[in-house]
Symmetry: C2
Subunit: 323 residues, 2 copies
């Protein structure tokens, strides 16, 4: 980096937890705080607690004053006006001006970014993507989100939500996705879908070691698959097939140097990465397949806060905060 | 454009025809020449004729000396070394160093670019994409190719072949694509596939007005569909379904302002555009769907030559030709 920039405050609004931290320009988190979201309380009480969390992070970090506040949240949202439109992980939060509210609370300019887009920038600048120029990032978690860095720059897209890499169709007429379409990657590879398919199969009377678990999760499915359970293996194979198919499409369409896979489902490691890498190597156009590495994310649980920090530092770099 | 640049020579190597022309920085073609490729003659005789065609274009254009030569050809190719690797539309042309050969023939630096990538830049700079920042281009012809301009810059991809937008999967386990994978967009929307499906259905005994045509083409199918022929309508609906599905994926993944559709199959006009626009409006993520217009290409038959010219002018702008 050619510049040295002051620290920024990062706020990460998830469906289950809120996080805050002060991020320095080397990508480190200081005074990291986490608390449950309790989204059912509605936007104003939750944001009041989030801003308190931010103040606590600033106090504990004990660093020079923060120069901007970065906010990472699931979309759809409007990066230009700082408004959360109607994020599906925060039901009932309609048109919440979280950016201007944070700016008022902390007296500094804000940058609001789609969580997966911010995470993509975080992994690019500080994680698995360091040194690359064109990189895709997918987070495979409750849903499947993503973002892209192209020619060294975060790609925000014409509507400001960046690329929605989880909504590539893998099976026409297949399972209904949260976006309404049938057969998207998210409808097969998300942790939610993995768990749902297991529960559906058990309810339909399929025999499996998973029947000993009350409400099997995606992690239960991956563990049972690793232990050789036939039903779990079938669900896992469908999951890695869907991811391999969608990544083949994306590698063909973007021709990236690197695809970074993050999110809870990737904790399964080689069980996920190996078949997906094999599918892309076999099915993508040969020059694109040769050029694209597929690697696990490196920032772990801090990716939301680091990503929001990277976005806030971008705001300072762009000079827009002077306006 | 802030600069005024000298004219460049453009060479376009297609599977059925060669074209040459001098392109000025306003995107106009001067001394335009076309001749059959006769690819079976092999690379050296064909390239000798292509370079003669280029000399004829220069002579007829009667403009100041050209400062670079741009070459547009189907990939895979290596833009850095100027080598055609093994383009499927030129069987037997293996590792042909067309860039250095053209540079030697004309005494100026060369830029070799994938034809669809070059066409994307041509449409962006001089055609339907003028004034946009993020644009996808698909050419639906013998095959389905594509290219992307992101943040005002041509996206060349990590392997230099740009995005291969025709190789998004629309039907798992479906028709075999030229790339080897099953069920790509190209395997359903290309003119080759449209004609093949008609011939297969006729050979299987399906009744259709197309049985009166000896070897029905994609155009015959679109005309018969427009006239209400049930078989042709079924094939056409499958074609527009495939294109709508792939464009939904691409609009989700790139969130472009504009998707430009070119190539022979798009001469069918509203019969193609209307159902494809409806599919993207219905199935893409709402912010991405609202942001993305889908428009026909504007450069017509000149797109190959104009695109190669745009690529050669980019070479001059980048200053790489001084090296």
């Amino acid at each position: 980096m050619e510049h040295d920039l002051p620290p920024v405050l990062s706020l990460d609004i998830g469906g289950t937890k809120l996080a805050a931290g002060v991020v320095t320009f080397d990508g480190l988190i200081h005074g990291w705080q986490i608390t449950p979201t309790r989204r059912e309380e509605g936007p104003r009480p939750v944001l009041a607690r989030l801003f308190d969390l931010g103040r606590k992070a600033v106090a504990e970090a004990g660093l020079p004053e923060v120069a901007a506040v970065g906010i990472s949240c699931g979309g759809p949202l409007d990066t230009a006006t700082g408004v959360l439109e109607c994020p599906p992980h925060l039901p009932g939060w309609i048109d919440v001006p979280v950016g201007p509210m944070a700016s008022e609370a902390f007296g500094v300019p804000y940058a609001l970014e789609n969580d997966a887009t911010a995470a993509a920038l975080g992994e690019f600048r500080y994680g698995a993507g360091r040194g690359t120029s064109t990189m895709l990032y997918l987070t495979i978690s409750t849903g499947v989100g993503g973002g892209s860095v192209i020619g060294g720059r975060l790609h925000r897209g014409a509507a400001g939500n960046g690329g929605e890499l989880g909504h590539v169709m893998v099976r026409p007429g297949g399972r209904r996705c949260s976006c309404g379409r049938l057969g998207c990657l998210e409808a097969y590879a998300s942790g939610t879908s993995i768990a749902e398919r297991a529960r559906e199969a058990l309810a339909a009377g399929r025999a499996s070691s998973l029947s000993a678990v009350e409400l099997p999760t995606a992690e239960d499915v991956s563990l049972a698959a690793a232990a050789g359970d036939p039903l779990a293996t079938e669900i896992w194979d469908e999951t890695t097939w869907a991811l391999g198919s969608a990544l083949t499409d994306l590698v063909n369409a973007f021709e990236p140097e690197l695809v970074v896979l993050g999110g809870g489902v990737t904790r399964s490691g080689a069980m996920l990465l190996d078949p997906v890498r094999a599918a892309v190597a076999r099915d993508a156009m040969p020059p694109a397949a040769r050029a694209a590495r597929i690697e696990p994310a490196r920032l772990g649980a801090g990716v939301g806060v680091v990503g929001a920090g990277a976005v806030a530092h971008d705001l300072l770099l762009s000079g827009k905060s002077d306006a």
